[in-house]
């Protein structure tokens, strides 16, 4: 077997976690806004693990507001949201997960990015079906109309009815200021 054929075969034996990682759907809204002269680009990944555990909404970083105002009206369910953050730049921070009701998760993201992609990834237990695309809204607007100025934005992920995905990833590249 030639060396390159051998290498191709060896890649077929890599750890299954990498195979699964690369198979997770990555699409949905893409926000693009170029602000300022920040040249560095970076990638930020925020993963939020959501578990339906009952009880009141948990707060992250002490910033989460109790449900009842704004879009949380009518909330009848209860959830325990447990965000975790990983970042290779140290410049992104999830300020809070406001609420979760039905199939909608409301998030507040503090970030400094130029381009921002909102990505939904499946959990191992709940694979996302092909063709399922969550609706991403920013301050109530579709991500087709992304913010163009630095400011405070709230992101909404609307899951398809009846779906319970347990991981959401946010990736940001570039320089869009999202501050609370």
């Amino acid at each position: 077997m030639k060396a390159n054929e051998f290498l191709l075969a060896a890649i077929g034996e890599i750890d299954e976690k990498y195979i699964a990682e690369a198979a997770r759907p990555r699409s949905t809204g893409r926000l693009t806004a170029r602000i300022g002269a920040i040249a560095a680009s970076f990638l930020v990944t925020v993963s939020i693990v959501i578990g339906i555990l009952g009880g009141a909404f948990d707060l992250f970083s002490g910033k989460m507001e109790p449900s009842g105002g704004g879009n949380s009206a009518g909330s009848s369910g209860s959830a325990n949201l447990m965000p975790t953050i990983s970042s290779d730049t140290g410049s992104a921070k999830l300020v809070g997960v406001d609420s979760m009701q039905g199939s909608t998760v409301r998030l507040v993201l503090y970030n400094t990015v130029e381009e921002m992609e909102v990505l939904l990834l499946e959990s191992e237990d709940t694979p996302i079906e092909e063709g399922i695309t969550p609706i991403i809204r920013c301050d109530g607007e579709s991500c087709d109309s992304p913010p163009t100025e630095a400011g405070s934005y709230r992101l909404y992920i609307e899951f398809p009815e009846g779906k319970d995905y347990s991981a959401i990833y946010f990736s940001g590249i570039g320089t869009l200021s999202l501050t609370k």
Binding site: K2, N4, A10, I11, A23, S171
Partner: protein
């Protein structure tokens, strides 16, 4: 049905396991097979072989990630089918990948030691663990799933030039990691 439930069907030797696998992952496996074989009928045969191999493997094997487990079987079976063909009949995607991976190995030397396969896979695992997620996903989609650059770019919502650049840099780094192995003395 959850993966764990499907796996339990295999352990119970319940033939519904195959139907559930096909319903949930048939399209996924077919996509992998088509990328290598470029022929829908042959790909379907390959996927059917995947179900049979899975049936014969579970038990005793209990996959950690069932989807990736199926992907590996499908890919290996498709590569076996390709080995039965001559090089000219190989799919273009395979030739592209082989051509690109040649950059990571300096010579056209032959590798015959099967033990090296697992060792090399471990080296690649270590290499991947040190890469950023975006690069890692691009690499695996290109050289495990054998996706085209265009489809990777679309999948990730980034430009094709960026995909090519990241792949090029990863191949350079992998070449360094593999220095002294696989005929790479450079």
């Amino acid at each position: 049905m959850q993966d764990s439930e499907i796996i339990e069907l295999y352990f119970a030797r319940d033939e519904r396991a195959i139907k559930e696998t096909a319903d949930k992952y048939g399209g996924y496996c077919t996509k992998i097979a088509i990328n290598l074989l470029t022929d829908i009928f042959e790909s379907e045969e390959c996927v059917n072989d995947t179900y049979l191999r899975t049936w014969n493997t579970i038990p005793p094997t209990r996959p950690n990630i069932f989807k990736a487990f199926l992907a590996k079987i499908t890919r290996n079976l498709a590569l076996d089918r390709l080995d039965e063909k001559n090089a000219q009949k190989r799919g273009g995607r395979v030739l592209e990948s082989l051509d690109e991976l040649s950059e990571c190995v300096a010579s056209e030397g032959e590798v015959t030691d099967p033990i090296m396969l697992a060792e090399t896979a471990e080296i690649i695992n270590e290499f991947l663990s040190g890469e950023r997620e975006l690069s890692r996903v691009i690499f695996v989609r290109r050289y495990f799933y054998l996706d085209s650059v265009g489809s990777i770019a679309k999948f990730l919502g980034i430009g094709e030039s960026r995909v090519k650049t990241l792949l090029f840099r990863m191949r350079e780094r992998l070449r360094e990691v593999l220095r002294g192995r696989l005929g790479n003395e450079g």
